[in-house]
């Protein structure tokens, strides 16, 4: 991406009405997302949710859904306890972003976007646990946020990005490759800038920036590598961008895997096949969780308050 374009995109992001004037709860929420879940106060979450009527209603609806045993949950507090903080915060984040995204600007269908983002968050966290990465919560968050650049492109370059998606789906190619050709930059660049604009940590910015190419950084951190690998796994397990990509993925031969092995030498002897079988086995549940959290009903919830 050339300097002029970079400057222009950065300026556009800082002036994006919808995203920079996010709902009042987005900023405290992003603040909260940075903490490991055992340091989040339940009261704080309940307070945030109660602040927004539509979001509170979603929480209650989800807590009362069959997936969570159809409890008779009547208070926000009980709903948060039934759902668990992890689900609640991804749901809050999704609802906030859905709220700031003008409905006519979605290019990737919202359910595909959330399936991929939350799927990637869950797989990244599983991988992080597997390699005993010290901050699995951060890994989860990196997975959840890695594709935010798609939203920037959808809002700022709606027609161009729609053309990218059409071409990528038609040729069954990776979307970032087409974005580079058509727009001159990809959602990785846009995501990096949005994460910077929101003041997220450098590791999260890096993960958004180089999740398709960890070689962009002289020394890619484990978080960027984990997100890169789980993004690939999700895309070959029907959690892509809503169209079929023709690709074969050699995880063990991937640069990100090799970078991880350098940081975690024990990985060299890891049974990668068995690990991916475990991920495969979890995919159905991941899909069920995503659909419960960001299901069709959630997507069309009226924006009020």
């Amino acid at each position: 991406m050339n300097e002029k374009l970079q400057f222009q995109l950065r300026a556009q992001i800082s002036q994006m009405d919808s995203i920079s004037t996010a709902p009042a709860i987005l900023m405290p929420l992003l603040e909260m997302l940075r903490l490991p879940s055992d340091r989040i106060s339940l009261e704080k979450v309940v307070e945030l949710i109660s602040y927004d009527g539509a979001i509170a209603a979603q929480c209650l609806r989800l807590a009362n859904s069959p997936l969570f045993g159809r409890r008779q949950t009547e208070t926000v507090r009980a709903a948060v306890m039934a759902l668990g903080l992890e689900r609640v915060r991804s749901m809050l984040f999704g609802l906030c972003v859905n709220r700031v995204m003008p409905q006519d600007k979605w290019v990737i269908p919202p359910d595909a976007f959330w399936r991929h983002s939350l799927g990637c968050a869950l797989v990244t966290q599983r991988m992080a646990n597997k390699i005993e990465y010290p901050e699995p919560e951060k890994a989860y968050l990196a997975g959840l946020l890695h594709d935010l650049g798609f939203l920037v492109n959808s809002v700022l370059y709606t027609d161009g990005f729609r053309e990218c998606l059409r071409l990528a789906a038609e040729q069954h190619l990776a979307l970032h490759v087409i974005e580079e050709q058509v727009l001159g930059f990809s959602h990785c660049d846009a995501g990096q800038m949005l994460c910077e604009h929101w003041g997220l940590s450098k590791e999260l910015v890096d993960a958004a920036r180089c999740h398709h190419d960890v070689c962009l950084l002289p020394k890619a951190g484990p978080l960027a590598c984990l997100v890169h690998l789980s993004d690939l796994l999700c895309r070959v397990r029907y959690l892509g961008y809503g169209y079929e990509e023709f690709m074969g993925v050699d995880l063990g031969g991937d640069a990100a895997w090799q970078a991880l092995v350098r940081s975690y030498p024990a990985l060299e002897h890891m049974d990668l096949v068995r690990f991916t079988f475990d991920i495969d086995g979890a995919m159905d549940q991941i899909v069920a969780t995503v659909d419960a959290v960001f299901g069709a009903k959630t997507m069309t919830a009226p924006a009020s308050g």
Partner: protein, 303 residues
């Protein structure tokens, strides 16, 4: 040795019940012996397979059954019976559409591109352990359907082998009932089969032409040496019955029989971990396969 399972936080709904640890031991045993793996979420399947054997043995608890598999005198026989239960006659045409999609979308285009550079436009496939023939017949239908599209200008042959004479005879006859044809469309039935009465269909000459049946024992080194020039080998749920040393030999034979850039497909949950590290594990949409790398493909790259 199998590595301990991930300590990932379960995404399961809060009401899911914990698994008896004895089943985890059985799961690890099966994986170590056969390479077949049951992920956490598939435990109910493993459990139901074990329960059938437990009922036959009148064993009531999983820990006791684990003893039958490990320390009782008849443990080898019992393990085999359990493996039979695990892979039980679940075979029909078009059982693994994801394999065919991976062939059509990624594998064949890359092989055709590489081989197109030389003038020999011929492809060779091998179904090793073809049992009663569902797999080679499915492959034949798939390839014949691509004859004027992806494979225009190319010829192909399928070698279908098994050790069991009865299975081979059935495969050669190619007579199938409704169960085997449950995933086969009416159009395909009309095109590639003829009605032989008794609600059975038999593969016609068009379907049989590309397939060559042969009896081959995968442990017979002298025969295995002469199956060179393969592009894709299918060997699903066969190696699970081999001990580690024989498994290694068979897989090494597959490796040397494959052309560089060729692929080996195993059963859905089979693994080559610690059996062989010359192949590269590659993930495609909904399926995994093992690649024999070309010199240029060795090492990593970005995607």
């Amino acid at each position: 040795m199998a590595i301990e399972i991930a300590k990932a936080k379960p995404v399961a709904p809060p009401d899911s019940t914990p698994v008896d640890p004895a089943y985890l031991k059985i799961r690890d045993l099966i994986y170590r012996i056969s390479g077949i793996y049951y992920s956490e979420e598939k435990h109910y399947l493993l459990k139901s397979r074990c329960e059938r054997r437990m009922a036959a043995l009148r064993v009531t608890s999983a820990p006791e059954y684990f003893e039958h598999l490990t320390i009782r005198g008849n443990r080898d026989a019992e393990l085999r019976l359990l493996l039979n239960e695990i892979t039980i006659g679940e075979t029909y045409m078009f059982r693994h559409p994801a394999q065919l999609e991976a062939l059509r979308n990624v594998i064949l285009p890359s092989i055709l591109q590489a081989k197109g550079l030389i003038s020999l436009k011929r492809l060779r496939f091998w179904c090793a352990g073809c049992s009663t023939g569902e797999e080679p017949h499915t492959l034949a239908m798939f390839l014949l359907e691509e004859k004027d599209k992806l494979l225009a200008g190319w010829s192909f042959e399928i070698l279908a082998t098994d050790l069991n004479d009865n299975s081979l005879e059935a495969a050669r006859a190619g007579i199938y009932g409704e169960y085997a044809l449950r995933n086969t469309s009416d159009a395909m039935r009309r095109k590639y089969f003829k009605d032989v009465g008794n609600q059975k269909l038999q593969g016609n000459d068009l379907l049989k032409a590309p397939i060559r049946f042969e009896r081959i024992n995968l442990s017979d080194d002298s025969k295995m040496l002469f199956q060179k020039g393969m592009d894709v080998i299918f060997c699903c749920n066969v190696l699970i019955y081999f001990d580690l040393a024989s498994k290694r030999r068979v897989v090494q034979h597959f490796y040397s029989n494959l052309l560089p850039g060729g692929y080996l497909f195993l059963g859905n949950a089979e693994s080559l971990f610690q059996v062989d590290d010359s192949f590269r594990l590659v993930h495609f949409a909904g399926v995994t396969a093992y690649l024999k790398p070309t010199a240029a493909l060795a090492g990593g790259g970005k995607k």
